[in-house]
């Protein structure tokens, strides 16, 4: 498990231990990765983050069109593994969690401990400091630095 922000480590480790999730990705709504577990290739992380953020954005737009409140979570059930996407609020803004899990656990367990992780993140997050505006030329540098940190290189 790798995280860019050290305060994420504790809650995420607890979630992983309790949920038995196979893959986990925490990211901002713009697809910037905050923490990951279980991915072996940086390309997979980038792709999953982009797709996950896109799916959540589409789903939230769908909810808006329906006049409904935001969906809490989206679960795709597969034969061998399943996937949950959930957006949640943190003191650092709105994040998205992507969790892939197998039959050794259940969506109920994953959701239970994901919700607990969200509560813990809200408690341990440092008070937000003003972020400088992100410039395009800085973005790629930031992304590469993030990927290096997430893969321990």
């Amino acid at each position: 498990m790798k995280a860019l922000e050290p305060w994420v480590v504790g809650p995420l480790e607890t979630f992983l231990a309790e949920s038995a999730a196979r893959l986990t990705l925490l990211m901002t709504t713009s697809g910037q990765v905050v923490a990951q577990h279980g991915f072996s290739r940086s390309l997979d992380v980038m792709t999953a983050a982009a797709l996950g953020a896109g799916i959540v954005a589409s789903t939230e737009e769908l909810a808006r069109l329906m006049g409904a409140a935001r969906f809490e979570a989206l679960v795709h059930n597969g034969q061998r593994q399943s996937c949950m996407l959930a957006a949640f609020a943190t003191p650092r803004g709105r994040w998205i969690g992507l969790v892939v899990f197998g039959p050794e656990t259940s969506v109920g367990i994953v959701r239970l401990f994901f919700d607990q992780m969200v509560q813990q993140l809200a408690v341990v997050a440092p008070r937000e400091q003003a972020q400088p505006p992100m410039l395009a030329e800085n973005f790629e540098t930031e992304l590469n630095a993030s990927l290096k940190a997430l893969f321990g290189r």
């Binding site: 656990t105 259940s106 969506v107 109920g108 367990i109 959701r111 239970l112 919700d115």
Partner: protein
Amino acid sequence: MTTTQTVLDRVTRVPGVRGALVIAATDGLVVAEQLMDGVDGQAAAALTGSLVGRLVRTAEGAAMRPPAFIHLRGDGGSVLAALGPDDLVLVAVVGPDANLGLARLEMLDAASRLA
């Protein structure tokens, strides 16, 4: 009143029962619930579903048919589970003074009516 609500009504009337719920065991999700304040239905569904799945596999390992009734006893109360058809499980969270015998009988009877 639906069959499920009738089932939950019967179980929650037993003295000492703090809450009853019908869960989909494999997913660990609530199908229907009737809970007192302070009983976390989401947690009860997820945790009981997980335990039921493990214990069903344990019974299979011992060449036994799936259990009809499971009782997890703690210091401060118990979780009771009566397995119904189609992956449905009737769960009750009870206090230490609950009439366990009556709860068990009601749950075994009620679980067979779930559909």
